[in-house]
Symmetry: C2
Subunit: 207 residues, 2 copies
């Protein structure tokens, strides 16, 4: 569709290469992944791989871009925003927690951080059609809810960011630093309800 794709030859095994590359990249990161490993994982010869992609770096960018798009379209299912704020916010919090506790969310985050020097545009790309979308949707909802008198928020951008951060309480450190053992369903509901309660304590119209 765009210029970047035109630079890259397509062929029968194009998809195989992308899938195998994503598998190895997310397992080993950019430096850790060897092109031989990728070719083996994709069930493709190294020569074939290099006939599609000029080098490892572009292959990585293509894979990451594809995954971000997939993620963006996948999570574009909206919420019914007319329900009570507790309901809407709990749903949003659940989806956010599910995401960054997911295998995918964690791996992408890891790679973004680890490769932020080599691929600064990668983090921006991921943010743009990931967290930024969620944030925009939240802000939209805040406007509607405020019009209905359900919420009262002066700095809606900050409120959205605060809500997202509240959803990470406890869980995020445990994941990133490997502390506190596996995360149970009870842990998740504790954090989610806590986030919603704290948020509504500040911004709830009935507060």
């Amino acid at each position: 569709m765009n210029a970047a794709n035109q630079e890259i030859k397509r062929g029968r095994k194009y998809g195989q290469v992308l899938n195998g590359a994503w598998e190895v990249f997310r397992r080993d990161g950019f430096e850790g992944a060897s092109v031989d490993d990728i070719a083996r994982e994709a069930g493709v010869s190294k020569a074939t791989l290099y006939s599609y992609f000029p080098d490892k770096r572009l292959l990585f960018l293509e894979v990451a871009k594809g995954e971000c798009c997939r993620q963006a379209t996948e999570s574009s299912d909206l919420i019914p925003c007319t329900a009570a704020p507790v309901t809407v916010l709990t749903g949003a919090a659940t989806r956010m927690v599910d995401f960054f506790l997911s295998d995918f969310g964690m791996r992408v985050f890891r790679i973004c951080v680890a490769e932020s020097d080599r691929f600064p545009e990668l983090g921006r790309e991921f943010y743009r059609n990931g967290p930024a979308l969620a944030r925009a949707r939240l802000v939209d909802y805040f406007h509607e809810a405020e019009a209905r008198g359900e919420l009262r928020i002066s700095d809606k951008d900050l409120a959205a960011d605060q809500f997202a951060e509240l959803c990470k309480a406890d869980l995020f450190s445990r994941l990133v630093f490997g502390v506190g053992g596996p995360i149970s369903a009870a842990d998740r509901t504790r954090v989610i309800t806590g986030a919603v309660e704290t948020f509504l304590a500040r911004y709830g119209g009935a507060g």
Copy 2:
């Protein structure tokens, strides 16, 4: 003092090596740092370096451990906890934001994330004498403040985590994903006051 230190020979240029290694590691990460670079940066021959440390991995662990300890002892200056909650919390928030916006905080975080596969114990070590200390101090303060009737918190651990997360709103994403340009003093105060206000809206005794 402990077993690990006994395994490592000391010598005149021991400190030089550690300093140079830290410099290169925090600049280039673990994989990115070459032992030759470290030796050059430390003003020491490679042979000398290897006479102290059996391999690159142990050198890295020693450096990271030392930095974590230094950081832990450095930030052990307590807060006067009898002031009004707004004051105490604003002070705490400022210190937290300063930390994870600092060069050091960001680099250590990056390395922890990037090297979490190779060095899972590193993240735990960092958390133990970094965020965990701050959290414990906050929880202690919550107990005292609650006894004075200034705060009302049922789940104090969760509250401490929420407060820490609130301090990261907006700022964290911008740092990690390289979005939204440099962070101004106004950005910081906006987030800090917002965090304190939201926290007190939920847990403030006078709320």
